[in-house]
Amino acid sequence: MDYLSASAAVAADLILDFDPEVYGIVLTSLKVSVSATVAASLIGVPLALSIALNNFWGKAFIRLLLNTLMALPTVVVGLFVYALIGRAGVLGELGLLFTPAGIILGETLLALPIITNLTLVAVETLDPRFFKTCRLLGGSTARTARAALFEARLGILAALVAGFGRVVAEVGVAMILGGNIKGFTRTMTTAIALETSKGEFALGLALGALLLLVALGVNGALFAIRRRA
């Protein structure tokens, strides 16, 4: 117990003294997580809108698939992307393995089903009168999609936050594709795993606290936006 409280005290010092190693890791984590969330949003939101606003054969299956992929284990994604960008992989020549770009690619795939599915739900659960009104006013699918993006903005924002929460807190993809290289691909979660395995709790605790702070900040911002709306 003494050991734990002593570690907590050291962790507090690391945070309050703005330890360059700690904040360097936080910055790397934020960079890859935000990039992956943005990339997944740029693909997932338009994809969800096109699924929601069009009727086609196999739509129900796509919904089922998206729901299933939301529970995709991070190590499975890591393994799959490793096979793609590893030396022997199809994209091996790009040299993405053990780089932040490699983690971003893996985390994008991880966030994509979450953002797509939750955006799809947000749009499909809009007031049915919304779709009728757009149709009566002569709105094309593209124009209806733009309006839906705005009308369902809170639900979509929540989808983005959920996607970000998933990638910032995951360890499998970052570990397998990033390699936990100090000062380069070491993220908050891979650093915590490493430090814990070494029995060094202080740095792990400091990073854990900062990870929670990031989550609190993002969710607090969402909460504030909801209240304003």
Binding site: R129, T133, L137, E151
Partner: protein, 332 residues
């Protein structure tokens, strides 16, 4: 004026899982350039009829001709404007809501002018930059009407347009609809349970009952209140009417065929006896004449041509008007 905007022949519509048609119309023709009102209680088929006229659903049986044409396409639908009982407004400004349809249809040449006029007509100029969802029910209804009228539809379908709005919005909506019909030669089709609204809007009136349409709705609607302490006396502000039964409501209705005309005071048990001047005689359904008598309130009586001949009176002459207290129906 276009003779017939809609022609329905043998049209029926049955919802899935139901064995009884929600709508079953033998023959119905809706004239252009005027207001047509369908009155009826909840579940009488008003919404189904409106969906059919909006070309949203196709009849299960029979023919529906729109401007004499069939089949129905998006081109036809663009001629129709719809005002719902609970319209959906986008969560943007009032002006942006009114502009939405114009932008969607790429009608942006004189957009500012058209939008400005629509907002002004509906008394919304000072609200133009406010968020539409923050307005009251009546104001929101007016925004929806402005958004519909700015598209210059040929047909305006209104579903209980004033059911949930304040008195001033109601008056403005009714006035705008009537003006639009008179000025633009448009066709307004209204469904409502409010017989008083039907009376105020004028035009052709039909009654819907269990999916069937019958010609001529209620002919006389009197607005007013029941007099406290005088059981069953309804005061319109101009005349007092004896009403049997229910004694709470803001309007009473009286069908034209329940009104008896005579040249002298009738000695009978009929409790409502009035006297007035004949102001109009017109041909009604089934060869009957509709005689309007001004007794302080205008009262329409339905009478056969031979009955009219026997009376031996004409427009401008005095006549006695009688009807039973039990002939009046109270509207909540």
């Amino acid at each position: 004026m276009i003779a017939s905007v809609y022609q329905l022949r043998g049209v029926s519509y049955t919802y899935e899982g139901s064995d009884k048609p929600a709508l079953d119309i033998g023959e119905l023709s809706i004239r252009g350039g005027e207001v047509t009102v369908f009155t009826g209680p909840n579940g009488s088929g008003k919404s189904t009829l409106l969906s059919l006229l909006a070309l949203d659903i196709a009849p299960a049986t029979g023919d529906l001709l729109f401007f004499g044409e069939r089949p129905i396409s998006a081109r036809h639908r663009s001629r129709i404007g719809i005002l719902d009982q609970h319209p959906y407004l986008f969560d943007i400004s009032v002006r942006a809501n009114v502009e939405w349809g114009l932008k969607a249809r790429k009608l942006m040449d004189d957009m500012d002018e058209r939008v400005g006029k629509a907002l002004s007509d509906l008394g919304l100029s000072s609200y133009s930059e406010r968020r539409a969802r923050k307005l009251s029910g009546g104001e929101m209804q007016r925004v929806a009407l402005a958004r519909t009228l700015v598209l210059n539809p040929d047909i305006l379908l209104l579903d209980e347009p004033t059911a949930h709005v304040d008195a001033s919005s109601r008056e403005r909506i009714e006035r705008i609809v009537k003006e639009w019909v008179a000025r633009e030669g448009g066709t307004a089709i209204v469904t409502t349970h409010d017989v008083a609204l039907a009376q105020r809007l004028g035009g052709s009136a039909y009654r819907l009952q269990e999916g069937k349409v019958s010609a001529s709705g209620v002919d006389n609607v009197f607005m007013g209140h029941f007099v406290m302490g005088e059981g069953g006396v309804f005061d319109t502000g101009h005349i007092k009417i004896n009403v049997a039964g229910k004694r709470q409501g803001k309007a009473v209705t009286l069908r034209a065929e329940e009104v008896i005309l005579s040249t002298h005071h009738l000695e009978s048990s009929v409790r409502n006896n009035l006297e007035g001047t004949i102001t109009d005689v017109s041909l009604g359904d089934g060869g009957l004449l509709l005689v309007t008598v001004d007794c302080g309130e205008r009262i329409v009586a339905s009478i056969t041509t031979s009955g009219w001949a026997d009376l031996g009176v004409s427009v401008g002459e005095r006549v006695h008007v009688s009807f039973k207290a039990s002939a009046l129906r109270v509207v909540e």
